[in-house]
Symmetry: C2
Subunit: 189 residues, 2 copies
Amino acid sequence: MKKDRAATEDKIYKAFLDILKEKGPQGVGINAIAKEAGVSKALIYRYFGGMKGLLLTFAQKGDFFKSLLAIDEKKDNLENLKSFIKEGTKELRENVLTQEILRWQLIENNEDTKSLFKYFNAQVGKTFAIEEKDKTLNAAFQLQLGGYVYFTLLSKFNKTFIATDLTSETTWENFDEAIAKTIEMFSKP
Amino acid sequence: MKKDRAATEDKIYKAFLDILKEKGPQGVGINAIAKEAGVSKALIYRYFGGMKGLLLTFAQKGDFFKSLLAIDEKKDNLENLKSFIKEGTKELRENVLTQEILRWQLIENNEDTKSLFKYFNAQVGKTFAIEEKDKTLNAAFQLQLGGYVYFTLLSKFNKTFIATDLTSETTWENFDEAIAKTIEMFSKP
DNA sequence: TATATTTGTTACCGTATGGTCACATTTTTT
DNA sequence: AAAAAATGTGACCATACGGTAACAAATATA
C-alpha cells in the first residue's frame, strides 16, 4: 500500500469540508470525517490534533467569502455601497460553507469552535465594516443584513416564512431592492 | 409508591420544556427528558408515543408568544403598527421557548419536528401577518424582522456581531428605532 | 542491507443514544 | 377478597460516539 501523509491530510480536510457543506455542523464528527475520507480516525488525531485542531486549520486557511474582498474598495459612495450589498447577498446565498459556519454560531460555541468563529468573525468584520454615519441607518442596515442571513439559513429546511416564498428568486430580488431602497431613503436629507 | 399517570405526564412534559429552554434543541432527547423528569423513559413512549408524539402535544397546546395576541387588533394604522412591533420584539427577546423553536427550524426538519413547526408557523403567520401595501416595504419589514430574530438567537452564544454589542440594551433600542423609522419613511409619499 | 522512523489499520474502551420487554407494584373493577 | 387493568422500573439490545493503543507495513536513514 502506498503511503503519503500530505495526500492523507488532504483527504481528511476535504472530507471535513464536504460533510460540513452537505450535513451541516451537526454532521461534523470524527467518525463521519474518517469514514468519508476513507481513512482511519486515528490519523485525524495524529495529524490534526482531533476536531479542535482540524477546526483551527480550517480557520487559519480562512477562505471565507473571498470573492467579496476584491470589491472591498467600492464602499465609498452610495451607488457603490448598493452594488457591494448586492454582491454580498449573492455571495452569501451561493457560499454554502459560509452559511454553515453562520449556522454553527447559532447552536454552539465551545473550545473546539472557538478559534474558527474568531477567525471567521474577524473576516466578516473586515469585509462588512461600513463607516457609521447615522446610528439609526446603521441599525437598519445591520437588521436587514441579519435578516438576509436568517432567511438564507432558514431556506435550507423551510420553503416559506409566513407568506414569503423562500424558493422564489423574486423574493430575493425584493430583498435586495428593499435594502437598496432603505439605504437610499436614509441617505436623503 | 404512589402512582398517578396525569402527574407523571406532567412531569415529562415539564421536563421537556425545561430542557428545551435550558439546553436548546440539541439537548432534547428521550434519555435526557426521562432523567430530568425522574421517570422511566418507557413511559414517554407509552404515554406520548415517543419524541414525535411529545412534540405533537407541545404543538397542539400552542402556547407560543400568547402575549402578542392580546394586541393583535392594533395593527391598523402606522402608530399602532409601530407599537405592535415594539411589543413583538420585546416578547421575542423574553420568550426563550419561542427562541428555541426558531433556532430548531434552522438546524433540522424531520418527521418528529414536522407537526411542531407546522403549528408554530401557523401561529406566527396569524400573529405577524400584515396587509401588504407596498412590495418593497413588505420586504424591508420582513428583513428587519428576520434580522431581529437572527440577532436574538445569535446573542445566546455571541456577545457581538461585527462591531455591534449584542449585550447592550441600547443596541436593541436602536433596532426598534430603526424598524419604526424605516416603516415611517416608506409610508411617506 | 540492516535499522529507525513514519504511516496506516484494527481492535478495543467507556459512554451515550433511541427503543423494547419482562417484571413488580399499585390501582381499579368485578 | 379476588381478578384484572393500569402504572412504573430496571435490564437489556443494537448502534453510535470520541478517543487510545497495539501492531503491521511502508519509507527513510544509517
